[in-house]
Symmetry: C3
Subunit: 229 residues, 3 copies
């Protein structure tokens, strides 16, 4: 049986007042559909509110208590982990779409993978800065001749490293060309993608591509040496 | 001491509409280990129930309040996002399993990737309709000769587009054949997988495969033109 | 307003058996920033806390009620599904990093993918047991000559099967070598990775690699026959 002094001390610990929280609780109650409220018994309602308030206050004030634990305490880390998985999935899907875009001759679609000021350093074919320049090379007569006679840009799985709103993806790519007796691996390259999160989703800021023909710079790119990408 | 009428009036707050919830609260309490319940104070417990009820009612009746917020309010969007990631993961894993199945001669296992009425259009080798027909071609003497002399079906990463209970996956595949001095890329193809969610998980409704030998239809497949798949 | 006696009687609800839970509630309250506390209305607070206590007791005592439902009831399955997706992502990323590591000559980094006692059976090149032995072969003159003249280890997508703290990943790999007129597929292999969860993340316990040159053991490996890995 709790004695009056005890009840008082409980009140003190509550830290007198929580007016804001009290009001908040009442607002929540008021927000409920009116048909849920039994208007017939106002005195009972006073008691009900009094009973509801402190717990409402506790719930709203302390993320480690009651209902809000899930919202404030448990879900945020879960949401953060979910976002990281979705970021990786989106980046993987973006890069997986590159081959189908360039092999079907959709230069504009492929260039849309890049940011406006994104760039693409093509091993042995120079640096192309800006989305328009990327589209130009992907729409070149040389590229259309390549795919017209049969070609495939296979981009292998990439190792993705997320860093907030930026990310890197590293992997190999092979360009196959059709020939009389099958297909030849014309270009086998190292690729390092620098990606950024934009309002339109993840986009390519820079793609560094180098032929794995013995060029030490290609190995440096795969090693993640900063000067290469 | 709260008078019976007062205690009753608190209960009234529950309102007729809360009867079910009140009962639920009492059941929850009853479900607690008996040693947690102070039997010495049954009258207090009666009041406790009365006080608890309206808030119990709030909790259970209003998805935006307290405990149920997490369950009804916050988790659903999270569950939807989780399901989408799991769908993508399952589809990617399904397609990644194709090579190991056909290269090990497991025609039945590979055919099980398809729905009963699924189909497979093999570039240059006709359309095979129905899982049984898919299994037949994957179990053909030609296929067994191919893998018997050394072959590998490499399916590259796929771009996955989810649409509820259906999805598409687009990517490249290479069939390597062993030869005296190494391996040759015998077939390099464009692939478009149309998948559907079934009670047994994601399955292939149709796989469209076309050699990237200059055939415009292969480029159209990669472009996602409807007529190709 | 509720009369003091009534407030007192409500406090009785706390019940002797709830002492521990009461204290827990108070600690939660005390943890709140002082500036959140309003100095008014102590009498209301007496009623409030007194009312809160028993229900606080209910909340904390019954994992199926109110706030704790979310934590104990709803989130655990979600957390389990999230973990499985993260495990798959980590394993996929680990294997995707193998090529860049060995093609850039980072033998130590590649060997770190393995557990201390992990092993690597290289088709045609023997079994290498222990991380040190794995590093030794990846740091051999033969390997450095290979990458020095231009080589790429493409590891295709893997089918991942999770089993708690262990997993398997099955897929194909191609080693391309640079040559005068492009690149040749020197080795095309079946791979079976046996992975384990460690304090440092997922690591390779054993990698079984066999050339797909017609060797039935390579097909058995892809079929997942136990004796092969």
């Amino acid at each position: 049986m709790l004695s009056p002094p005890a009840a008082l001390s409980v009140a003190v610990v509550a830290g007198v007042g929580r007016a804001r929280l009290l009001i908040q609780s009442l607002v929540n109650c008021a927000a409920r559909p009116i048909d849920r409220i039994d208007k017939a018994d106002s005195q009972a309602m006073i008691i009900a509110m009094a009973c509801a308030t402190p717990l409402g206050g506790l719930c709203m004030a302390d993320p480690n208590s009651f209902g809000n634990r899930a919202e404030s305490g448990d879900l945020q880390p879960l949401l953060t982990r979910m976002q990281a998985l979705e970021d990786r999935e989106e980046i993987r899907n973006l890069i997986a779409g590159y081959g189908p875009l360039v092999d079907s001759g959709n230069a504009a679609g492929a260039a849309d993978m890049w940011t406006d000021d994104g760039s693409y350093a093509v091993g042995g074919m120079g640096l192309h800065s800006g989305r328009a320049a990327v589209e130009t090379i992907l729409d070149s007569a040389g590229h259309h001749d390549l795919i017209g006679s049969g070609a495939a840009h296979l981009l292998g799985p990439v190792k993705i490293v997320l860093d907030g709103d930026s990310a890197s993806a590293t992997g190999l790519s092979i360009v196959f060309r059709h020939q009389a007796d099958g297909f030849a691996a014309w270009r086998v390259s190292a690729n390092r993608w620098a990606l950024v999160r934009t309002d339109a989703g993840w986009r390519v800021q820079h793609r560094d591509n180098r032929l794995l023909d013995g060029d030490p710079a290609a190995r440096a790119l795969l090693a993640g040496d900063p000067e290469t990408s």
